[in-house]
């Protein structure tokens, strides 16, 4: 089967790859490009562990084809920190212990970043509904919501 040639931008870097027409963006990221920060929790768009941002839109990368990345700007968890400077959301997740096993964390961070980009001062309810596409089985979400609230305050002040 012939591959599809794709030219795209991932975390600011120009990237080219060949992928199969039925290959998901998640498979491309993980298996072809070695970007394993996005996780496959379900493969059906129900858990959000594979969340990435494509052209300022939060998506489940398991529901996007690798071929659809052509010409797009893609942001993954690997591009969230600037060098050794963590993003305020990453820092607040650590300070609030908003992760236990951590497997859902990359997806939550992408979803929270997308939420705060669109709504810099969310209420608790807006955070809860904004993150409702991401499953966490460890924390009960309490500390995640608090970390996002705290990060929003820091980012507004910045």
């Amino acid at each position: 089967m012939a591959g599809v040639a794709v030219s795209t931008t991932i975390n600011g870097d120009h990237v080219e790859y060949l992928c199969q027409p039925d290959e998901t963006l998640l498979e491309v990221l993980r298996d072809r490009l070695g970007l394993t920060g996005a996780k496959e929790g379900c493969g059906t768009g129900d858990c959000g562990a594979c969340s990435v941002i494509v052209d300022d839109r939060l998506v489940c990368s398991c529901l996007v084809l690798g071929a659809e990345a052509e010409g797009r700007q893609i942001e993954t968890i690997e591009g969230m920190a600037h060098g050794d400077q963590l993003h305020p959301l990453q820092q607040k997740f650590l300070e609030h212990a908003a992760l236990q096993c951590g497997v859902c964390t990359p997806g939550f961070l992408m979803a929270a970043k997308d939420l705060l980009a669109k709504n810099p001062s969310p209420t608790e309810e807006e955070i809860r509904f904004g993150l409702a596409g991401n499953l966490c089985r460890c924390t009960g979400y309490d500390k995640i919501v608090r970390a996002v609230q705290d990060a929003a305050n820091v980012m507004k002040g910045a």
Partner: protein
């Protein structure tokens, strides 16, 4: 060196603080490597073919077409996993569950597997495997399976634990009984008796990371396994036995684990991956899909429980009795037995009797799920306790306080309690502002108690001091939720150095002695005990080295706040030597400085919790929301309080999902109808309120710092607390979990029709 594990009061410096975890940055940057994030050169993709039938004889498997497909490197069936279990029935069941041998026993049971050059080829190959089944009648309901007319799942199972050995095989693998006193006499003394029957449906642990491993078997009989597991040493034992390998030649590395909650204490696909690798001669990566996780791994028991409790008008319980039937999947288990042990553990009872029945059904093999078996028993008992308090006209908290177990109480499952936290958690709940907050229309408040044993077990730990004075701590208990942080705190505390100079890792099976798995809330309890012991052994070496540097007797050297201190007036001018200064000279004073520890961490402290919950029911739809939730639990000592709170909150959230939504739904064909997160709905962020926590610290006398386990008890009270809240809101006793909208509407309708 003799290690004294007894509690000794001390002022803590590091323990009880809340630093950032050592594995944190890796986890917020996507660098942490979980089961599916690891690759080896030349690696193949493994896939498993699963039975679509709940119960069927496997008459024939033809793999020839699959083997001929280009890119397929190995196809295996049960024939490639010969029986090496040597009469060990439990291991045989594990083997049979990994790959069905004669019969497929549930929808999703593995029957064959392939390894191919890529996922697409592997999927195609599965379709080319031809399996001829003879479909048999099946049974998935726990009560149905106990009937004499039910299809027999295993004709070699005869009920154990009966007075007379049965002559006919049965789906009931075992009967167990616990208790003391005379319940007949006790009920005769009662003024009020409540008798109720309850059901709970089967739920899954719901870890977000599916089972995943990379297996590599070499021609020389050595092998490696990278795997997400709660117990890599146990996985090594099981895989080595099933594959016929020497344990020391199989090196198992535990990846970061994306949730387990008991579900990653059992081998599932790992022996299959190893068998595929052995046959293909190449490494094989095997990752379950979410559908496979639901159909073929995990779930807890479905249950059917009868409870009878009697009390005098003054609120004294005179007798308590329960019959507990727990589904085990198609293999014998001890799930009802644990339910029978925990059911009345919160109470001081003169007369108590519990009987458990282990019931075989055509569902996946039951696995541990966080305080396994206790939440269902607590649901039944705590619902009946609430009813009885109401009948007597007592406040439910006061009623429980009056009957709560205390130090010296003989537990319903046998032992006599030491200092315990049930009374204090109830007193804390009684005085909590949550109990006094006003409720609105359609809202209800409930509370309930929970108990869990906690376990200790075999533990081995290494503590190595670098020449720069920093400390490497190698533990063998998998870190499921922050234990590397808590164990680093313990090492820092004992050595008297700063947390930032300690780095904890989970060592692989070739680098450390055997460790039991992280279950029974034992991770921080047992590994902190071993860490304290290892640190004390290292301190002994540090003192010897300091004595050598000073040229004095080691008996004159004490260890205080991270320094060797020369004792006695004759050494008054010697000052102190820091750990760092001693380490810097280690090359000249006898070589590397280390402390080692191997022990069986006995004396795990039993754990109690009391939860309060407010809910609101929409009477038109039956939809229920939790609007306020409070957890009060005894931690013994909270080593890292933030992660203790996290355990309390996480267990409560899982319990809320179980109480209101989550259930395995089987069709008449015996197939699981909701094997995905869309239809098996775990709580999302917008379903829950903040979950308030209160940590009580009643020291465990059998741990130097007083630590008890904290991980599991938090899932025990929620089913009952929420059922009590819903029952109070709607005025109807809810007896079937989950209390999904249709069940609540049906209960309301039944009440209206009288």
């Amino acid at each position: 060196m003799n290690f004294d594990p007894r509690f000794s009061g001390r002022n803590f410096t590091s323990v009880g603080t809340r630093p950032i975890r050592p594995d944190g940055v890796d986890k917020v940057t996507g660098r942490a490597r979980y089961g599916a994030d690891f690759n080896m050169a030349g690696q193949l993709v493994g896939r498993i073919l699963r039975s679509p039938h709940a119960h069927a004889v496997i008459k024939k498997i033809d793999t020839s077409k699959a083997e001929k497909l280009a890119g397929v490197k190995a196809v295996i069936t049960a024939a490639d996993l010969p029986d090496l279990t040597d009469g060990d029935a439990a291991m045989y069941d594990i083997l049979d569950n990994c790959m069905a041998r004669k019969k497929a026993l549930y929808d999703g049971h593995a029957v064959a597997a392939v390894a191919a050059i890529d996922a697409r080829t592997a999927r195609q190959a599965l379709k080319l495997i031809e399996v001829e089944y003879e479909v048999l009648p099946h049974v998935t309901d726990v009560d149905e399976a106990m009937k004499h007319s039910a299809p027999l799942i295993n004709d070699a199972i005869f009920t154990e634990g009966l007075e007379e050995k049965p002559v006919k095989p049965s789906n009931v693998s075992k009967r167990t009984q616990y208790g003391h006193g005379d319940v007949h006499q006790g009920f005769a003394q009662a003024d009020m008796i409540v008798e109720r029957s309850f059901k709970t449906e089967q739920t899954h642990q719901g870890y977000i990371e599916p089972h995943a491993c990379v297996a590599s078997v070499n021609a020389d009989g050595t092998a490696e396994l990278w795997v997400c597991t709660q117990g890599h040493f146990v996985y090594r034992q099981h895989c080595a036995q099933l594959l016929g390998l020497e344990a020391s030649k199989l090196r198992v590395t535990s990846s970061e684990i994306g949730g387990g909650f008991g579900g990653k204490t059992h081998v599932w696909a790992e022996p299959v991956a190893l068998a595929l690798s052995r046959k293909a001669g190449r490494p094989v990566k095997l990752v379950m899909t979410r559908d496979e996780v639901f159909r073929a791994s995990g779930p807890t028991s479905a249950t059917s429980i009868d409870v009878k409790i009697g009390a005098k008008k003054d609120g004294t319980i005179t007798a308590a009795e329960a019959t507990l039937r727990y589904s085990c999947g198609p293999y014998a288990g001890m799930w009802a037995e644990i339910g029978a042990m925990t059911a009345f553990a919160c109470y001081k009872l003169e007369n108590v009797k519990t009987v458990g029945y282990e019931v075989l059904v055509n569902r996946p093999k039951t696995a541990a799920y966080r305080a396994p078996s206790a939440p269902m028993a607590a649901f039944a008992v705590e619902s009946a306790v609430d009813e009885l308090a109401k009948e007597i006209g007592m406040d439910p908290v006061e009623f429980r306080i009056k009957n709560a177990a205390q130090e010296g109480t003989r537990a319903s499952y046998g032992p006599v309690y030491g200092p315990i936290g049930i009374g204090p958690t109830l007193e804390a709940v009684k005085n909590h502002p949550h109990m006094k907050a006003p409720l609105k229309a359609n809202q209800g408040r409930g509370m309930a108690c929970g108990f869990w044993f906690n376990f200790g077990g075999q533990t081995c730990t290494d503590l190595n001091i670098g020449m720069d004075g920093s400390v490497s701590l190698a533990v063998g208990t998998v870190d499921v939720g922050g234990s590397r942080a808590s164990l680093s705190l313990v090492a820092a505390e004992e050595l008297g150095i700063d947390y930032s100079h300690v780095k904890a890792i989970v060592a692989d099976t070739s680098s450390l002695g055997y460790n039991d798995m992280t279950d029974g809330s034992r991770g921080t309890f047992s590994s902190s005990m071993a860490t304290i012991s290892a640190a004390r052994n290292a301190i002994k070496v540090l003192r010897e080295r300091a004595a050598q540097m000073w040229d004095i007797s080691v008996d004159d050297v004490a260890w205080e706040a991270g320094h060797a201190v020369a004792k006695g007036e004759k050494h008054g001018n010697l000052g102190k030597l820091s750990l760092k200064e001693i380490a810097a000279q280690s090359g000249k004073t006898g070589g590397p400085i280390a402390g080692h520890s191997e022990l069986v961490a006995d004396g795990a402290g039993v754990s109690f919790a009391t939860h309060i919950c407010d809910i609101e029911v929409d009477p038109e739809t039956g939809s229920t929301r939790v609007i306020r939730y409070t957890v009060v639990q005894d931690a013994g000592k909270a080593v890292h309080p933030t992660y203790v709170e996290g355990q309390y909150q996480g267990g409560a959230a899982q319990g809320i999902g179980w109480a209101l939504n989550e259930e395995y739904i089987y069709g008449k064909d015996g197939r699981l109808q909701n094997p995905g997160f869309l239809d098996y709905r775990i709580p999302v962020c917008s379903d829950l309120p903040m979950i308030d926590t209160q940590i009580l610290e009643i020291p465990n006398p059998n741990h130097p710092y007083g630590v008890r386990g904290v991980g599991e008890t938090s899932i025990v009270p929620p089913l009952a607390a929420i059922a009590n809240a819903v029952s109070n809101a709607v005025g109807v006793r809810m007896t079937h979990i989950p209390m999904s909208p249709p069940r609540i509407l049906a209960a309301l309708e039944a009440e209206r029709e009288g």
